[in-house]
Symmetry: C2
């Protein structure tokens, strides 16, 4: 299928290469067409890869992936054009991390709002599905890098779009249905975005970004 | 050993009962001595259980557990008395959740600060170890309710106190050393406190609070 990838960073390039590898036509969008990073990615990724401005990519894609830096996402999506997002699944992979004060980063929005919600409010005709943002991009694209069962979360207000997005996570990257936990409406994106500080601490403790969480359910406690 | 439990809610009562069960002397502290909930708990928990005002309990305990509601913790610890906390491990189990606007709750502090850090700053002579706050209290006290390997996080600035706290989690509740992940200084309490919105969503999705997270580490990705 035709997929728009917004963003030329490591997340966009990693997901884009995997999407091309499994047979999709992928256009990478950036602020202006012919950005050096996008052109370099297209050359490496082969015939199914192309690049253009944000609006070119969003017009091209049947599905749009927001892989821009969270602090730049709303501006990038404005440039992509609401008419190019209308009616489409907009998979939001971004986290609103602010690195301007050094490590650890803080979030530019959290607690009473989230980037996912802001995007859905700004683009009400897009079907925003927050997904993959609790993972390093290598694990997003290749869940088999982490052994055994582990989970990815999806949040979104449109149940049909969320279900389709979950199936795409399987077709594109190999996430099995039982690996995908539907947290509920887009408001639950607060939870996955607010997991980033813990994720960053864990990366430091574990010494690798190649990890994930497995949600393990137990039996009910005996009544107290 | 002699343990102070601050707070008469379900967390304090559940941990207190387990602590007594494994042979500790536990004094439950509340705003005023002889609170009905504390008195009821003492009667049910038996001869090793006692109760008193926050300051009575803090003076009694070799170790102090903060099981008060996060929004009330600093006031409760002031009543407990800094002289009664000085030099002791203060295990902070609380989360700064604000339920006043209904569900889902928000955090009263997050992102650039945390309850754990606030407590450490307010009581610099106490050895604050944030722990257990990512778990339902039944799982805190009985990790075996969740099958297989799963993890609890500790944060604190005093490495020796943190190590001792980790051993106590084992002696008291059965958390094995490999179940305990040391995230670093007390600043990393931001991460575990900010996990609460995801935890609350998961409780809704799973239909039970009896769950936990297993951190699964993978192998490094092939270079892109």
């Amino acid at each position: 299928m035709k997929i728009a990838l917004l963003g030329t960073g490591i997340v966009g390039r990693t997901l884009g290469s995997k999407l091309v590898e499994v047979g999709n036509s992928v256009m990478m969008g950036s602020r202006s067409a012919n950005s050096p990073k996008a052109a370099e990615w297209v050359e490496a990724a082969g015939a199914l890869a192309s690049q253009g401005a944000f609006a070119d990519a969003a017009a091209f894609g049947e599905v749009v992936l927001n892989c821009t830096a969270g602090v730049a996402s709303l501006a990038a999506l404005e440039l992509a054009g609401r008419e190019n997002l209308s009616g489409k699944i907009l998979m939001d992979v971004a986290n609103p991390l602010d690195f301007s004060q050094g490590m650890p980063p803080t979030l530019t929005v959290c607690n009473t709002d989230s980037l996912g919600e802001r995007i859905q409010r700004a683009f009400p005709d897009a079907k925003v599905v927050k997904a993959l943002n609790t993972l390093n991009c290598a694990v997003m694209a290749r869940p088999e890098l982490v052994p055994g069962e582990h989970h990815v979360f999806v949040s979104g207000d449109d149940a049909e779009a969320k279900g389709r997005a979950a199936r795409l996570l399987g077709e594109w990257f190999g996430w099995e249905p039982h690996d995908i936990i539907d947290l509920g409406g887009i408001g639950t994106a607060r939870g996955t975005e607010m997991m980033l500080p813990l994720w960053i601490s864990l990366m430091g403790t574990l010494g690798t970004p190649i990890f994930n969480l497995r949600v393990v359910t137990g039996r009910d406690a005996p009544s107290a």
